[in-house]
Structure formats: structure tokens, C-alpha cells
Symmetry: C2
Subunit: 350 residues, 2 copies
Amino acid sequence: MRITAEKLKELAYSVLVSAGARAEDSKLVSDNLVESNLVGHDSHGVIRLPRYVKEIREGQINPRASLRIVKENPGSLVIDADWGFGQVAAAEAMTLAIDKASSAGVASAGIFNCNDVGRLGGYCTAAAERDCIGIMTVNDGAVYTKLVAPWGGISGALGTNPISAAVPMGLAPPLCADFATSVLAGGKIEVARKRGEELPVGCIIDALGRPSTNPEDFFASPPGALLPLGGAVAGHKGFALGLIVDILSGALSGSGCSGAGERYAQGVFILVIRIAAFTPLEEFIERASRLVENTKASPKADGISEILIPGEPEWSEKEKRLREGIIIEKATWADIVQTAGEVGVHGDWK
Amino acid sequence: MRITAEKLKELAYSVLVSAGARAEDSKLVSDNLVESNLVGHDSHGVIRLPRYVKEIREGQINPRASLRIVKENPGSLVIDADWGFGQVAAAEAMTLAIDKASSAGVASAGIFNCNDVGRLGGYCTAAAERDCIGIMTVNDGAVYTKLVAPWGGISGALGTNPISAAVPMGLAPPLCADFATSVLAGGKIEVARKRGEELPVGCIIDALGRPSTNPEDFFASPPGALLPLGGAVAGHKGFALGLIVDILSGALSGSGCSGAGERYAQGVFILVIRIAAFTPLEEFIERASRLVENTKASPKADGISEILIPGEPEWSEKEKRLREGIIIEKATWADIVQTAGEVGVHGDWK
């Protein structure tokens, strides 16, 4: 199934509104999901729409939530998201932090009582588009999302605890990093399983702690675990990074750290740095651009045609998909159409 | 050579004063170096004393430097370190950022015209001891410290760009992470070379980009390169992290990014988060402590007796070395004694 971004947004919007969400929230969430499809991260795209509708029905998502700032300082704020859409809370928190950073220099926000915020890179990019460096980390406190083994351990103790950062690069698109602090993101194992493919060596262990390349070992009962970034040689570094992300996102926000409760709850930490508070923007961009240029000019490994900077693959994928449309896998499309039908949205989306 | 921390501090202090440094700076730098020895990071300890004396003599370190705040906001500041000791500038910047965070909630500092700051963990721990989360990143802009290959590249383009974070844990010592964003820290390769040992698989490549375990390949001419954290499977993540550290430390501070110049220059980025600006301190510590307890209680891999939290190995090493003294390798001790003699410090340090 190939569909334009505009049509896909329309569909997602209609489904969310019909499921009981506010018009402005539905717009924000559907734009966010389709943006993930556009940049090539289909795992964070409209594939999540049926889940969100189900979560509204089950009371996990409150479609009429009211955000509330519960604590505030010149450079910090904490938001109770009232169990609304994570995207709405994250976008608002990022905007407020950018505003605060404009006078304080840097500013930070925490969010609790929050649902899935989707892909992180987009929020950080919004900060970069306002001449700031945006940094964001997320954890979730549910027992069943403890997927990543600690260094020296063989069972999941932490979530995949992602981190994202975006940096303005002048006329070029922002540099945008966005990655799980495990060797692989959880979704990659799901994809390999569905396709019957092996995983690369060094990503997961089975329930007995033995290295495995078989995605089934990860989903078995008792389950295997993901290894922290760094794997067998330097997994203590990924483990440390995962703990820091967990503490920033879960302990500081008040949302709770990995394994804290039964309910799915994303904790969010946002940091915004106004570049001009440190150095003239043009000079900053000159320094950062020279670093990127020097790096891209490095001698390449065999089979590598270009050294890509974080964010570059996403920007070229977006250009392509805006032009050629977004391909949705058959099973995903069937789920979406069924969900749409359930909330009374019918139509010819081809 | 075994020596007590107190005697080693005395020796380092006398050497620095005799080399022309101010008394208060000499105290701070010698305490900092010996603290690195105490916590087990000898690569960042008094082994650096001869280098510092040489750098004073050659004009790289200005022993009479005056720090200057060149830019300031309620939550941010930038310090020109006037090419003084990095330790003096970093300690002062951390103190000022902690003070600013007490009213702003979070605060950040950049440092430029700065020499080696030594081990990062100690500065972050100082923030943790004042009920803040302390985060610090460092790069250096000298061409000859481009040691880490970009993802897809085969030559050094970035420094090892370390990152550190410390978190208060109530009655327990702070959690303290401190690691290079390459698979290995540069010093580890030097150590393996001196001892004639092989490196683990997946840490370095030779000048042609071939995987190697021979430290000589790294130091050859043309040189090999370190791989970014994540290695062959997930090196794009370590590469992204290294770029972000480089940009925060070098582009934001004004010090310059990796490869920007001929002179050794550390750029520093500091972030301080006052926990009580987000959540009551006791609740924060309860959440973070439960995460640590759950993680430590995870089933262990074969041969692992305890899952260690970042900072734990350092705390137990410090206890041991405070009790038993610090062992300095013969060659290092000879260098130190020779340096001491050159600046007119003589004595029986046994």
C-alpha cells in the first residue's frame, strides 16, 4: 500500500477525532506519526495508531487531558501530562523550555503521567529550528518493558532508554541523533522476527545469558534480553548511559524508573540550550559545520560511499517519501483500516 | 613504589609551587591528581605531573592565569580560562553552575582557552554532593588528538570525547559514570602496548581499516584508529554521541571542535540540575535507589559475583588505597622524581 503523507495524516486525524480526541491534539499526533513514517522510522509511525485507539478505549490515554505545570523555576519546569497523548505534552514542554532558555540561557523540563511520545528526534529538531540545541531522554516505568540487561547481568532490568539531540547547522538540516542506549532498538528485534531473519552477533542473549542471534530467544518464556550499547567489550558504558537516562527521565520527572510499576508510563527529560547565550550563532555554526565537513571527508571503509552524519539518512528518506509516497506493509494497513472502521471512519484511501 | 595519598599530595604540591604555580592552584591540582590515583584511574593521576611542569615551562600552561567570565545569563556562563590549569577552571565553573542552578533550576557552563582538566568524575561528584545531578563533557581541538574513526570511516576524525555524570544517592556514595565515547579510552591502548598485551576484538582498526587487536597498529605511521562506542554493530550510536560531545564542548564553549587547531585545547561543557527544582530530593533518591537495587538484584552472568553500578569500583578502590597506599609504577616514579629534582624539590618520599 502506497499513500501520500497528506492522505495518511488525514486518515490518522479522522481516526483520532472519531476515537474521542480533541481536534488540535489529533492534528498534532497524526502529524507526528506520519513525520516518523516520512523520515523512515516506520516503527514509530502510523503503525501505532491502532494501539493509541485501543489505549483510549481502555483508559490508558485520556483524550481530554489537561496539562498542568506543577513546578517552575526560571530555567526549569515539570509537567503533569494528565495521561493525555505523550506527543501533546512533549511538544508543549519543548516549546516552554525553548521560551525559558531564551532568558535563562538553558532550560529543562520533566514530564510525568505521560503516554508514548513517539519518535524523539522531531521535538529536538524543533529546538534546533529555533537556534537551540535540543536534548531529550525518555524511559518507561512499566515492569514489562525491562528489556535491557545490566552489565554483568542476564535479565532485562532497564528499558531501551533512548536519547536524542539536535543541533542547528545553518543552511543544512539540523544534525539529529536519536538512538536507544541498548545495542539495538526493541523494534528491530520484532522486525527480524517477523521476517524470519537472524540478528547481528552481539545484540541479545537468551534467558540463560548465552549470546544469541535468534530473535525468538528474546521473546521466549522466560525471555532473553538486549545487551546495553557497547556489547561484550564496552557494555558497561551503555549500561551507565541507560542508567543516567532512566534517572533523568524517571526519577527527576517523578514518573518512576524502569520497573517501578504496572502501568505503561513514559518519563521525559528535556534540555534546551540557547546557543547565543554561549557564543555568536554564526561562529557556532561555523565550528560545528567544519567538524562535520572534516568528518565527512575522512577516508572511507570498503563499501561505504559516504560518511553520514546523524539525521542525514532521515532527511534524504523524507525527500524521497514526500515525492514517492509512503509504503505501509499489508498487515499494518489492514490493522489501521480495521481500527478506522471500528471508530466509524470509512473511505477510499488508495 | 607505595606511598600514602597525603605524601603524594605534598610532593605534587611542592613540585607545582616550585614550577611557578600559585599555592591555591597547586593544592587544587595536586588534590585532583591524587584523587584520580585513589579511585584507581592512574592514567589521570600523578603520572601527569611531569607533563604539567613541562607545559608550564613551554608556555602551554599559564601558571598565573586569571579566569574571566565572558558571558553570563541566569542559567549559563562562559569562562575564558586564560590557559591556566584546567582543574582550576573546571572546579570554579562547576561551583558557579551549582550556584546558578540553585535559583534557575538548571545551569550550564562552557570553558575555553583551557588545559587538561583531568578526570571528569570528580567535578560531577562535587555537584552530586550538593544535591544536584552534575554532567560534564570534554573535547580537545588539537589535530593530533583525532583518534576515533567516524562510523563508516577508517581514520581518526574525533577525539575520545568523554562524558561524565554523577547522581546523589542519599547515604550511598553518588552514582558516577565517566567514560570515553570510543570503545576504549586512549590510555588503555597505551597500557596494552607497554605491557605487550593484545586488545579485545572490536576496539581498533589499522591504517587500512582492518580490524586489529595489536596496539602497535594504532600507533603506527600512518596510524590506525579507535572505533566509536558500539563498534561494528552499533558504532553509529557512539559516533553520534561523540559528535554531540564535540559540539557541546568545542562549538558551544568557543574552544573549537576536534581538529580545529594545532594547540592542545580542552573545551568543556558542564550541566547542573538541581533536583529539588523538579521533585523532592528524598523522593528522587528513593526512585533512583530502587532502580539501583533492582538492577543489582538481577540474575548474574557466569563468573560475575556482583553487578556494579557506575562509581562503585572507584569507591571501593579508594577505600583500599586510603588504607594501603598508592602504588606508582617504577618508570612513572622515576619521571616524577626527576621532574621534582629539576624544579628543586628534593626529599625522601618513601
